[in-house]
């Protein structure tokens, strides 16, 4: 099957000097669960930003879902992002004055059109059918992260990108969120997840390690 992500010599400088990514080569197959590990400042978030079309590289080429995104800019990049990727963040980033349901509907709205019934179903799917009309401040960390997972999934993206999704969660909530990722992976979703926790990375099919913007070792999947 054609890979969903291909990166060739992907390089990113900040302010023309800090080399956050240094000629990274990477291939991810559809349905794969990839974990990215590495010390702080090694370029994990930068890599995820590029794959998620939130930022553009200085050098190298990048294909996502068969499209060479290094050729896209501005409006096209925005459109490609909302059609292709779902994003999950360490700090959840829910809109504080909107309910769980409205937060999910916001993603629908920016994608195409808000559909309350569908948003409700997505929240029920992550076990939040009883928390639809709660504000983020009225939800636990794990519940907030599950809202943001529902939000990331609502537009059926080909690719799920998560930057330390369990970094702010306690053990019980972490387990619940990881269980969700496991289910999503089993259903065929492609997941790229940044994590510090080897235990979390252990759930992934494959782990790559970054250091100073370079891939230093890649652990292949046991049997893919």
């Amino acid at each position: 099957m054609a890979p969903i992500i291909v990166a060739q010599d992907l390089t990113k400088y900040y302010n023309g000097q800090t080399c956050a990514l240094d000629h990274v080569n990477l291939t991810v197959a559809p349905g794969e669960w990839l974990a990215i590990m590495g010390p702080s400042g090694s370029g994990k978030t930068t890599l995820l930003n590029l794959i998620g079309c939130l930022d553009v590289p200085n050098e190298g080429k990048l294909w996502v879902a068969g499209t060479e995104v290094t050729h896209l800019a501005g409006r096209e990049l925005t459109r490609f992002r909302r059609e292709t990727v779902g994003l999950i963040f360490q700090q959840f980033y829910l809109v504080s004055y909107l309910t769980a349901l409205e937060n999910v509907m916001l993603a629908q709205y920016f994608h195409s059109m808000a559909d309350e019934a569908e948003a409700r179903r997505a929240l029920e799917e992550v076990g939040l059918g009883h928390r639809l009309h709660h504000l983020p401040s009225q939800l636990s960390g794990g519940e907030q992260q599950r809202v943001s997972i529902a939000r990331a999934l609502i537009n059926e993206p080909k690719l799920l990108l998560a930057d330390e999704p369990t970094g702010n969660l306690d053990k019980a909530n972490e387990d619940m969120v990881l269980e969700l990722f496991r289910k999503l992976h089993a259903r065929g979703h492609t997941i790229v997840m940044v994590t510090h926790d080897p235990k979390v990375a252990g759930l992934a099919g494959r782990t790559i390690h970054l250091d100073h913007g370079k891939v230093v070792e890649a652990v292949p999947a046991p049997s893919a």
Binding site: D55, Y97, A107
Partner: protein, 383 residues
């Protein structure tokens, strides 16, 4: 959906948004009341005087303020300097450029109960009606010599109605009159009994008149030479250009309006500062939110629209509140300063809302531009 986001976001920042709305409302209030007042004051008194009314005034030379009726004590009436009736004869035979004239004689007469009195004004009906077309009569204009008009205030005070008889006692003893109609002029006539010149002179024992209102065809600078000419032709008379009074009044009105406009400008500037700070703060505070929205696929248009709607809400709410309160303020000012309600101009309302919207949008321009430029990538970096 966007509207829901806007309303909820505004609702969460009620206090700060409220302050901005209030600031805009204050500016709107001044714009609204200024517009109402200048639209009405501009027209009212002056136009009447200039278009139809008298533009020259003849008074006896020795009296400096002939209209000041307060100085006419009961006993001093006969000692009052007056214009001789020859003055009227002169005006009658001299047509050009005098279009119309109305003589007035004033005096105080007693009522039958002897304790109350009323001011009687004598004039020539034709001249008075030509020079004061705004005089309104309920009932009918006097037909015979014994018929009189009674001012709307006097009617109330004396308990009279059209058709009633009234006995007035002047220096020449009592005489009986019939009330033909109730006179409403908005001026001092409202508290007087107005009758024909001859009747008044007979009742008061006078032969001359206290003042003559004139309308000459000539306007503006041509009035001064005419005034001089009349003073020479009629010994003992002093001629004044009425328009000078009106234009002095206009200068005062213009100055007051200028001051109000200046205050309105300053308040609008302060209001735009308040809106600017509210919008700038909200954009700054919501940088992660905007980053998230962009990460979710919102284009610059959507983000711009979101904050523009907030600015529109602040402007519209402030404008509406300002327009309504301004209406009240204009009425209060109109009543206390000009003694009448200000007519409600259909322009004042849309004008105020438009100005408020303009100020709010203009002040929000920079913060909105800033919001539109927030990068989606910031959010993953956790900035």
């Amino acid at each position: 959906m966007l509207l829901r986001v806007v309303l909820k976001s505004l609702g969460r920042r009620r206090l700060r948004v409220g302050v901005a709305v209030l600031a805009v409302a204050l500016g709107g209030l001044l714009v609204s009341s200024l517009a109402l007042l200048s639209l009405s004051v501009g027209q009212q008194s002056r136009q009447e005087l200039q278009a139809y009314g008298a533009n020259l005034l003849l008074v006896p030379e020795t009296v400096s303020a002939p209209v000041g009726l307060g100085s006419l004590g009961m006993g001093t009436v006969t000692e009052q300097a007056q214009l001789p009736s020859s003055a009227l004869a002169y005006l009658q035979q001299r047509s050009q450029p005098v279009v119309a004239y109305a003589p007035f004689v004033y005096g105080v007469v007693r009522l039958p109960d002897n304790s109350r009195s009323v001011v009687v004004a004598g004039t020539e009906w034709d001249g008075a009606r030509t020079l004061s077309p705004w005089w309104q009569v309920k009932g009918s204009w006097p037909q015979g010599p014994e018929q009189v008009l009674v001012g709307v205030e006097a009617v109330k005070r004396l308990g009279l109605a059209p058709g009633d008889e009234i006995t007035l006692t002047g220096t020449k003893g009592p005489a009986v009159f019939r009330v033909a109609g109730v006179l409403n002029t908005g001026g001092s006539e409202d508290s007087q009994v107005v009758m024909s010149l001859g009747q008044a002179q007979a009742l008061l024992g006078r032969t001359g008149v206290d003042l003559v209102l004139l309308r000459a065809q000539a306007g503006g600078p041509a009035l001064e030479p005419l005034a001089k000419e009349l003073e020479v032709a009629i010994p003992g008379a002093q001629a004044r250009v009425v328009r000078q009074v009106a234009s002095a009044e206009r200068t005062v009105v213009a100055k007051v309006q200028g001051l109000m406009a200046l205050v309105a400008l300053l308040v609008l500037a302060a209001a735009s500062l308040a809106v600017f700070s509210t919008m700038a703060t909200t954009v700054m505070e919501r940088t992660p939110e905007v980053g998230l929205m962009k990460a979710l696929g919102a284009g610059p248009g959507r983000i711009g629209l979101l904050f523009t709607l907030e600015a529109v809400f602040i402007g519209a709410a402030g404008g509406l509140v300002g327009a309504v309160v301004g209406l009240g303020v204009a009425q209060a000012v109109g009543r206390s300063v000009f003694g009448s309600y200000v007519p409600i101009s259909p322009w004042a309302f849309p004008l105020t809302v438009t100005v408020a919207l303009g100020v709010s949008l203009l002040a929000s321009l920079m913060p909105i531009r800033r919001a539109v430029r927030i990068e989606a990538a910031r959010i993953l970096r956790g900035e």
